[in-house]
Symmetry: C2
Subunit: 346 residues, 2 copies
């Protein structure tokens, strides 16, 4: 009974008592991302934006394929050792994922959580692995600047202008292999909080940070309350892509709830580009933004023991061009995943 109880702290949160470990990881970044502040950390910087494909969508599929293959190799496994893949992308009907992994013969749990997808995939995969159903399981996602502009804004060829509050979709794909057994990486996925759809009625699709900040606040506060944790326990509390605008809203909203996370707050969208130098406006965004920042940078800091505990909270803006053009608001969602450094001597 005690064990069962430890799994269910509060309504939204989960504790993974059987052990879910990071066994492999991969970060495949685009050229602009490779030129940014985190460039040196990525496994591969793919200079060709088409990645050998003939369309933007095929390019994104090729990024995904590389990420999954690289992560499986990093885990010192073969594709046949992977039981399931949990993943998705931003494109309608997840076509980047479908065509990215279709040759791998690995069953797919297709997910959509907008830019929160890396969190959703890690959460779902952790439940499978901890429950004894996952064996080795891959969590992954991707995004592509040109594909996302075409899907959500305007095709690049239109040359439209962007407001400063707009974020810049990251071209890249990140993948993690989770395993029930300890591996060469002393990093454990200990717990998670699944997010709710939070709608504050914001209708500005060029200001995603403001749409997503209330969801990030809701999930972070819920995690801290469910586990009786304090922000200072974490070396970093990391959101996905709130950017400069969303950051201020999040910090203020959490302060109202009694949580001050400013000292150890980090946003992947603000780390991945040097906005002034690179002209990326409010910062990076897209499923790939938090995914490659996690797999290239955050998990490596944890594996080295430089950081001991990180709360990873990718954020998604839930809209389509249809819902937006029909005058709907842009609700947000965020999922929280806690990683801990776990040295082999434990």
């Amino acid at each position: 009974m005690e064990k069962q109880k430890s799994k269910c702290q509060g309504r939204q949160s989960m504790y993974f008592g059987n052990g879910v470990y990071v066994r492999g990881m991969a970060s495949i970044a685009g050229k602009l991302e490779g030129e940014g502040p985190l460039g040196k950390y990525f496994d591969v910087v793919q200079e060709d934006a088409m990645a050998g494909g003939s369309t933007w969508e095929e390019a994104e599929s090729n990024f995904q394929k590389m990420a999954v293959e690289h992560a499986i190799a990093d885990a010192e496994l073969a594709q046949t050792d992977i039981r399931y893949i949990a993943g998705g992308d931003l494109l309608g009907q997840l076509i980047a994922t479908t065509f990215g992994i279709e040759t791998m013969n690995i069953p797919l749990l297709g997910l959509y959580g907008a830019c929160s997808t890396m969190g959703e995939a890690l959460l779902a995969a952790a439940v499978f692995v901890d429950g004894g159903f996952g064996g080795n399981m891959v969590a992954m996602t991707s995004s592509h600047f040109a594909g996302a502009e075409k899907q959500f804004r305007f095709p690049l060829a239109y040359g439209n202008q962007r407001p400063m509050a707009a974020t810049w979709t990251v071209t890249g794909s990140g993948a993690v292999v989770l395993s029930p057994k300890k591996s060469k990486y002393p990093v454990r996925l200990t717990s998670a909080t699944m997010g709710r759809v939070v709608d504050f009625g914001v209708k500005d699709s060029m200001n995603m940070g403001a749409c997503m900040a209330p969801a990030a606040c809701d999930t972070i506060a819920r995690y801290l309350e469910d586990f009786g944790a304090e922000p200072k326990e974490f070396d970093r509390i990391v959101t996905g892509d709130l950017g400069a605008v969303g950051k201020e809203i999040l910090l203020a909203m959490l302060r109202e709830k009694g949580f001050d996370i400013e000292q150890n707050y980090m946003d992947c969208g603000m780390e991945i580009f040097d906005a002034d130098r690179q002209g990326t406006d409010a910062g990076g965004s897209g499923c790939g933004c938090s995914a490659i920042t996690l797999t290239g940078y955050i998990l490596r800091r944890l594996a080295q023991g430089t950081w001991k505990k990180v709360l990873f909270v990718p954020t998604g803006a839930l809209l389509s061009t249809v819902s937006f053009n029909e005058g709907n608001s842009v609700p947000g969602i965020a999922h929280a995943i806690a990683f801990e450094y776990c040295p082999q001597t434990e």
Copy 2:
């Protein structure tokens, strides 16, 4: 060890040893579906295709909301008793789901599996519940004829013609409450097989049955092999929406693999409409097709003990208008879920 082993029969399949029970269910059908052969079984027939909404997408959201609320009430629970919802829909970026459940304050695991989504949602929810993470959890999905025509083919106002091999997207939403405890319904979700993306290179988006049949074959054969089961053990082996064309392909392909399922085969798409009388061409399709056939008809037969064991295999065609217009094939995916009658005396 024995228990762990029983959970992992073969690479793609799972056995839910701790017990996952059907506690509530709901089937909300559109007018045409209500006039079809299964009409009398549905909980609600919503005569207004807009369901009180002002757009087709809002209509679909309203169907979903009704289905989830109805299923929770049927389970004799309150919304606060539901830990998570696993669900999705056909529309780009899952907008029917986002706006359908956003007022419920229940965390969302957003899924995309095209018309296989009810299977994917049940599979994911069963893993959460069996692993001790789900408490009471809702699995649900929906589709809407007019929203799907607009998303994938042409807006209705264009009055385009449809080939006979085209299927008719069902307007409706189905929801199931899964629980770790036995309930008034003596029905247990015992096992599942997660499907792979299967691509036979079919490029005809008006002939979804042919696109999806190879995926259904792959998953059904895998389930039977992983559990050493024979088709005759099942009162019905039920696909989602292969229709008249896909049925023949599936039966022939399975026969080649040594499985004859013709005697106990059923396809939701062929049951839900009387194609000759209702003019629905090759049969029903859409996430809602298998969902309301499951919740309105199949689960009730199991609850009565009329059927003892059913393998439910909804099938999805993985395409978007972008992938299709770029000349890509239409891959398929199918997930298999086994339900069993479990009388209270057991």
